[in-house]
Symmetry: C2
Subunit: 254 residues, 2 copies
DNA sequence: TTAACAGGTCAACGCTGTTGACATAAGGTG
DNA sequence: CACCTTATGTCAACAGCGTTGACCTGTTAA
């Protein structure tokens, strides 16, 4: 609240729908939609205030009546993406399958708008759609039988891992053409040709590396996380209650 | 290789060490070091060609004699970070403890230079230090007894998880002051105050959320990944050889 | 001694986000 | 219906950005 700039009129107070010179009636929703379209069609570099103004048929500076600055706009875009993802997800009651499905949806949803994802996935928006997502995931975990501290811990790992991989994979999709091709070339030209005497392990697995590195590691990582969570749940429910909270399964200190 | 611009003289061919107007003798190493210092001291926004030139005591355009463009410089910075991390890591022979240690080192190494990490962690540099890291990690996994395809799969999940979380956490550290404080405020002001009747799960776990969300989920996620890997290894070694390759443990298709 | 050229400098380009001043149309009030 | 307030669109300007082509100069090899 403290940071809500004076320049921006909160959506509730907006009444005067004055059309722009070109006849377009602006709104926060229209601006967000147009920004997403711009990102999708022309890449991350295409999202500039000036181009967005042009695409909207309005003076660039008009945007500042709706968003404090470009960061504020970014958060609105991020929240819209969360909302779209959640809207296509329909839980079945099987916590593990549901979380797996949701994770994959969050991931692929980001890849559909990589330019937006890479810019926004690490932000806490605090807006409606994000709050809904938090509530829903926590509900799934608590419903599965995880005690509160455990539920929160797994929620955090699950959601941050999804966001982190989304950003990572989105980033490489969003790379400028030249850089992306350069990266593919590096694997072929560098890693595939390392001699066995200096790099035995890479040489021995080169074939598998080529195949595996070209796709995202997220599904594998997600399954591993869920496997560990399931094991933990079994531990908890078998031992009656959670009298032994600490156990991380590993020997090493946490 | 094809993309190595004509303007940039490869390091090997450099001979003429002409000092700048201010008496500084430039080199690729000096530039990378100075860039890291700039990032550390003044944040990501401080890393501009002009400021870097100023910090070096040289004309900004002199940098283009050493790096094709700012992206090229970025990759050099990334590789230097990888090298520094690997140099402080000393494996013991216990694969799980070693990977855990390495993961945490990569993570905290990134957080020491969040500005650099957020810019570079999703890039394949193909430079010396990166190659060394790949070789080492693969060696640990194969040495532990994972068959090649499994070793590659786990390597990929492990390394991308580390990079993804590094980028995620680095990004929030690297946020401009104002935005960072705003995010902290969102948790306190928004999530902590949601009423139990509309958001029962958040309300019930608010206390744990406040505590857990302020620190990184990476250690927890890393432990879960290693737990799943250990379980898989046991499966493999107990059943003699890996006649049942496919099994993802989960029921859903991959 | 000289010729070649790597490498530092300078000025300029087009682009960016942002802001303050200004113009105008919408809408509540009387 | 007329007025006044003010939300909102427009315009011009600012400083800063990455990048480049032309220029100049010191170093080095022959």
């Amino acid at each position: 609240m403290t940071s809500t700039n004076d320049r921006v009129v909160p959506p509730a107070a907006r009444r005067r729908r004055r059309p722009t010179k070109k006849g377009v009636v602006l709104s926060a929703e229209l601006i967000v939609e147009t920004a997403l379209r711009l990102l999708k069609e022309h890449g991350a570099d295409a999202l500039t205030v000036r181009r967005l103004g042009l695409a909207l048929g309005a003076d660039p500076s008009a945007l500042y009546r709706y968003f404090r600055d470009t960061d504020d706009l970014l958060l609105a875009i991020a929240d819209e993406l969360i909302g779209r993802t959640l809207r296509t997800w329909h839980p079945t009651g099987d916590w593990r399958a549901d979380l797996r499905d949701l994770g994959l949806r969050m991931h692929s949803g980001s890849l559909a708008h990589p330019q937006a994802a890479v810019l926004s996935s690490y932000r806490v928006t605090g807006r409606v759609h994000e709050i809904g997502a938090v509530e829903t995931i926590l509900g799934v975990l608590r419903g599965a039988g995880f005690p509160d501290p455990e539920a929160v811990r797994i929620y955090h790992a699950f959601v941050d891992q999804a966001l982190a991989f989304a950003a990572l994979d989105a980033a490489s999709i969003a790379l400028p053409r030249a850089a992306r091709e350069a990266e593919a070339g590096v694997w072929r030209a560098t890693y595939a040709r390392l001699p066995a005497d200096t790099h035995p392990h890479i040489a021995a697995t080169a074939r598998h590396l080529m195949a595996d590195m070209r796709r995202s590691a997220y599904p594998a990582a997600l399954d591993m996380l869920l496997t560990a969570a399931a094991a933990r749940l079994e531990e908890i429910t078998q031992h009656g209650n959670a009298e032994t909270l600490p156990g991380r399964t590993s020997g090493t200190s946490h």
